[in-house]
Each structure stands twice: as structure tokens, then as C-alpha cells.
């Protein structure tokens, strides 16, 4: 009986001249055919299940970035050692409408995907956790995902590299919506407990008649959001939106390489204060940027 173990299915991402194997906790590949039943009045049953749209696929995975270095000078200039973060940062600020995909290879199956969501989760004394979703539409005559699942050679990396190069909150610095907040009257500073950052991209695959897969993709907009958990409530949400700043530098545990997340002109959207018995008060504020 054939079976393939998790360490025989490496996940590799290629964007431009940069290729990285991802230290993923999990990965899932989904393929969908858009079929609908054909019913008719006066008849029992279905004539067939007929296509209503093109086949699509998606790849999602969670991982901890290993900041082992880069090959692309363009990314280095931004101090960016995470390939997904680099793609997201480039895409959200681009003025071009034509969008190009990222090559994904997952245990012998490959495809070209568009980054649709990317999130970064940070908690004290913990490695950074990222979650990513790619949508694969195919292009022209190319199906969204091709190849077959095969065991690959084991992905081994020196343990010392992994230990020292993973993104970690220990040396990370924040400038996150004036967090942790202070109680102005007593000048006491609260504790920033966690940061959950996410960005979602909106694309439009352009289909033409007579061809299943899109001929091109248009990138339209992006929505960026950060939710900050702390223990001091900062009052003062504004009707017209309170301007904030968000700059996150996540460093490797050896305090060397960095990934940076910078939200442009974020605005405070909501705040929430909650407390339950046997606990301290917790606050959450949400800031958003749009591109």
C-alpha cells in the first residue's frame, strides 16, 4: 500500500529568480470543478452535470519563516528575508494591473498561483506563524495544477540554522498603533499580548469565450488589517478615523535578518474591551489600510 510521509513532500516556492523551501507545518491542495445539475421542467432527474465555470485550485499552508538569506537584491534592500512577505509587499504597492503568479511545487504537483491572503501571527516568546493562501486558475491551455504526488528527497537543513534563523518575537520590534497603550493619568504602560496581521488581495481572472482558463489576471486592490491585543484600553475612536502607524520588524532568533511589515496610513476601525472572571481586562483594536 502506497503512502507518503510528510517529510517526503517538500513545499517549494519560486518567484522571479528566488526559490525557497518552506518550513511548513501543514499544506493543503484543493481542486474544484464547477459543475451544476441540469434539471428541466416536466422531467424527472438530471440531464447531466454541466460545467458552469472553469476548474480552479488553491494551496494553503502555515509556516514559520526561516530567515536564512536571500538571493534577490531587490528584496534585500527592504531587509526582507521572507519570500511571501516580499511578494505581498511588492504586490500591495504596485501600480500595475497585470499580475503574475508564484510557482508552487508540492510533492511533485506544481502550479502557478496568485497570493490571495497572507497573515502573520506574533505572540510573546514564540516563533512567528504565517498562514498563506494561493488561488490557482491555470492560464491559457495550462491547467491549474499538474503533475502527480510523488515522494521527494528528504528536506534536511542544518538544525543550528533552523534554530537560529527562524523568525521569533524575542527580538522583534513594534510600532503598532501606539501600542502598548499607556494610561495617560498615571503614565502606566500596558502589555502588548499579540499581533495578528493579515492582508487579502483582490484579483480578476479575465476569461474569454472558447477557452477554459483565464487569458490574463488583473490585480485590483488589497485590504490590510492588524488586530492588536493588549491589556490597557485606549479610548478615543474617531468618527473620521484615527490615523495610526504600524511598522513590524520580525527578526530571526539570532537577531540578524528581518522581515518587515509596514501598513500605509492605517486607520483605527474598532476597539473592544472585555473582561471575564478570574482574568485581567483585555483590549483589542483593529486598524486597516487599503491599497
Amino acid at each position: 500500500m502506497a503512502s507518503i510521509r510528510y517529510d517526503q513532500i517538500p513545499l517549494t516556492i519560486q518567484y522571479g529568480s528566488r526559490t525557497e523551501k518552506i518550513l511548513a507545518y501543514d499544506c493543503s491542495l484543493s481542486e474544484t470543478a464547477d459543475l451544476q445539475p441540469v434539471y428541466s421542467i416536466g422531467k424527472k432527474g438530471v440531464a447531466e452535470q454541466t460545467p458552469q465555470g472553469a476548474r480552479t485550485a488553491s494551496v494553503s499552508f502555515s509556516y514559520t519563516p526561516v530567515l536564512t538569506g536571500i538571493t534577490n537584491e531587490k528584496f534585500k534592500s527592504k531587509g526582507d528575508y521572507n519570500i511571501i512577505n516580499g511578494v505581498a509587499d511588492e504586490l500591495k504597492t504596485t501600480k500595475a494591473s497585470q499580475s503574475f503568479g508564484v510557482s508552487l511545487m508540492f510533492g511533485g504537483i506544481s502550479g502557478e498561483g496568485l497570493l490571495t491572503s497572507y497573515s502573520v501571527s506574533l505572540e510573546p516568546y514564540a516563533p512567528v506563524q504565517c498562514s498563506v493562501n494561493f488561488e490557482l486558475f491555470g492560464s491559457g491551455e495550462n491547467i491549474p495544477a499538474s503533475g502527480e504526488l510523488k515522494a521527494q528527497s528528504l528536506f534536511r537543513s542544518p538544525a543550528s540554522d533552523l534554530a537560529s534563523k527562524v523568525g521569533h518575537s524575542a527580538y522583534s520590534s513594534f510600532m503598532t498603533a501606539q501600542s502598548p497603550a499607556t494610561i495617560t493619568s498615571s503614565d502606566e504602560t500596558g502589555i502588548l499580548k499579540s499581533v495578528n496581521y493579515s492582508i487579502n488581495f483582490n484579483y480578476e481572472p479575465v476569461y474569454k469565450l472558447g477557452q477554459e482558463f483565464p487569458s490574463t489576471f488583473l490585480y485590483h486592490s488589497a485590504t490590510e488589517e492588524a488586530r492588536l491585543m493588549e491589556n490597557v484600553y485606549e479610548t478615543g475612536i474617531a468618527f473620521t478615523g484615527k490615523s495610526e502607524k504600524f511598522h513590524l520588524d520580525v527578526k530571526s532568533i539570532d537577531n540578524n535578518n528581518t522581515i518587515s511589515v509596514n501598513m500605509e496610513n492605517p486607520v483605527l476601525m474598532s476597539t473592544q474591551l472585555r473582561v471575564s472572571s478570574n482574568g485581567v481586562a483585555e483590549t483589542e483594536k483593529t486598524i486597516r489600510s487599503f491599497y
Partner: protein, 306 residues
């Protein structure tokens, strides 16, 4: 009693169709009759005959759509009286309610990428319905529905229409004026005469351009449809006409669209030959010696006309 849609059969000219929806609307043309000095009325009079319509949507399966054949044949053939031009008359049944003199007044299709091809038709009829509402129990036949993935365009338009590489969306629309002719004292028409017929095609294409001459541009498009995995065309829709308008639109969060509208009022590319009649051949003056029984000299022809 309440019926389910799967038990209500729709057939036109004894042809079964895979209809997704059907609507039978019967309407009178009654107006209130007011007496002088009154602004309320309980009396109504008929100002016209019954106007009834049957609207339905059905899947195209590629066996040359039977409903589409009415576009070419309806109103194009002379009747035995040499005046009427009814051509093919549609008889229909919807759940056992039947009519015998229907006419196709509109037929539209929307072509969207990777979507099944669905036609929307409207049939008008002016006679009374016969029969009673009955339910049927039939199995649906296994059919392959035509899909816009298997579509090809033939573009033989004038060069001035601009370069077109991609066809993104398309519509095909046929409309025909159907006019009943009533004799005095009758409530159902004696005959039908057909007014203007037109076929319009709307095509969303790439390469936005603003070139639009005041007298239009020749636009010739033919849509061919084949079945999955086959290159044989099993259905086609043609519009050889004139570019009537073009529109470019942009909405936030969406692509720029460029829409062409082509229209023709001569939807058939063939000429109907309805028969040949011999006519007298004119003979020039002085050509009496060539006179035959089936020819008439011009001078004699003139005197006959006088």
C-alpha cells in the same frame, strides 16, 4: 392541487425541450368605460383581442435548436392565398394547456465563458387555450449541454472595426414584430402579418478604441458551437450587419469593458425564390417579322397600356 415543476411538461411543435423555466401569461386588453360626469367606473370594454405570451428558457443541446429554426422560416413563406406569410406556426403545450397558432417574437442568448448556453424565447399567440392542466411523469433524457468553452468566432468584419483578439462575452438577440389582423366581429385574428425583424449581436471584446463613423462599420460575426472534445460545429448564430454603437465602461474593482453592438435587419443570408412567372418580351418597332406569339411589340404594348 399543487404541482411540482418536474411534472409540468412543455413542448412546442411536439418537440421536447430542456426548459429551465416557463411562464404562460394571458392578458386581456380591457379599459374602463366612463360615463359623462363620472370619474368612477365598473364597466369595462375590450379594446383589443387577447394578447398571450409563453416565455421560457431552455438549454441548447446541439441538435440544431428547433426553436431557432423559426427565425428563418417564420414570416418568410407565402401562404396559399399569396398574401399571408405565416410560415411555420408554433403549436404548444404547457402542462396540458395547448395553443395552436403561436409565433416566435423574441429569441435571445447570452454567451459567458465556461457557461452552458441557455436561450430565452417568447412566443405570442392569440387563440384560446384548449385542454386542462394535467401532470406528466417523464424521465429526463441524457443530453450534453452546449458550453461556451467550445465556442469559436468567425470575424469577417471591415478592417475599420479594429483589431479583436479576445471575445469576452456575447449576446445574440432576435426580435420580430407580430401583428394580428382582426375582422370586424371576431375576437381571434384572421391572419398574422409580420413587421420588421432584426438580429442584434452584442460582443464584449478587448482592445478599446473609439473609432465610430456616422454611418457605421460593416460588422460580420458568426458564433460556432461544438460539443466537448469535438471540433464539429453543431450550432451557429450569425449576425452580418452594421456596427451600431460601441461602448467603453470602467467600474471600480473590475476590468475595462469594450462592447460592440451589431445589428442587421436582413437576418437571412439566402434569397427566397418563390416561383418564376413568364412575362411578355418587349419587341422594338420594325421588328414585326420577328414577332412570335409570346412576344409583344413595344408600340403595341404602349397602346395596350393606353
Amino acid at each position: 392541487m399543487i404541482f411540482a415543476a418536474k411534472n409540468i411538461k412543455l413542448s412546442l411543435n411536439e418537440v421536447d425541450i430542456l426548459a429551465t423555466q416557463c411562464s404562460l401569461d394571458l392578458a386581456t386588453s380591457i379599459d374602463p368605460r366612463y360615463d359623462a360626469g363620472e370619474r368612477h367606473s365598473r364597466n369595462y370594454f375590450a379594446s383589443n383581442g387577447m394578447g398571450s405570451t409563453l416565455s421560457f428558457s431552455h438549454y441548447l443541446t446541439g441538435d440544431l435548436d428547433k426553436i431557432k429554426t423559426f427565425i428563418g422560416g417564420q414570416g418568410e413563406l407565402r401562404g396559399s392565398d399569396d398574401r399571408s406569410n405565416e410560415g411555420s406556426i408554433i403549436t404548444g403545450s404547457f402542462g396540458g394547456l395547448t395553443f395552436t397558432s403561436g409565433y416566435l417574437t423574441s429569441y435571445t442568448l447570452q454567451f459567458s465563458p465556461n457557461s452552458p448556453v441557455v436561450a430565452n424565447s417568447t412566443v405570442v399567440f392569440f387563440d384560446d387555450l384548449d385542454g386542462g392542466f394535467t401532470q406528466t411523469e417523464e424521465e429526463i433524457p441524457k443530453e450534453q449541454i452546449l458550453n461556451c468553452k467550445n465556442i469559436t468566432f468567425e470575424n469577417t468584419s471591415a478592417v475599420k472595426i479594429g483589431e479583436i483578439n479576445d471575445f469576452l462575452e456575447a449576446t445574440y438577440s432576435y426580435t420580430s414584430e407580430i401583428n394580428p389582423v382582426y375582422s370586424a366581429g371576431r375576437t381571434v385574428p384572421d391572419r398574422i402579418y409580420f413587421g420588421k425583424k432584426s438580429v442584434a449581436m452584442g460582443i464584449q471584446v478587448d482592445n478599446p478604441t473609439g473609432h465610430m463613423p456616422y454611418n457605421g462599420i460593416e460588422g460580420n460575426f458568426k458564433i460556432n458551437l461544438s460539443k466537448h472534445g469535438s471540433s464539429t460545429n453543431v450550432e451557429n448564430f450569425t449576425c452580418f450587419g452594421t456596427l451600431q454603437s460601441r461602448a467603453m465602461r470602467a467600474n471600480v474593482g473590475s476590468k475595462v469593458s469594450h462592447q460592440l453592438a451589431i445589428i442587421t435587419h436582413n437576418h437571412t443570408q439566402t434569397t427566397n425564390v418563390l416561383g418564376i412567372k413568364s412575362t411578355a418580351r418587349p419587341v422594338f418597332p420594325g421588328a414585326e417579322e420577328d414577332y412570335h406569339t409570346d412576344t409583344v411589340p413595344l408600340n403595341r404594348l404602349q397602346s395596350q397600356q393606353e
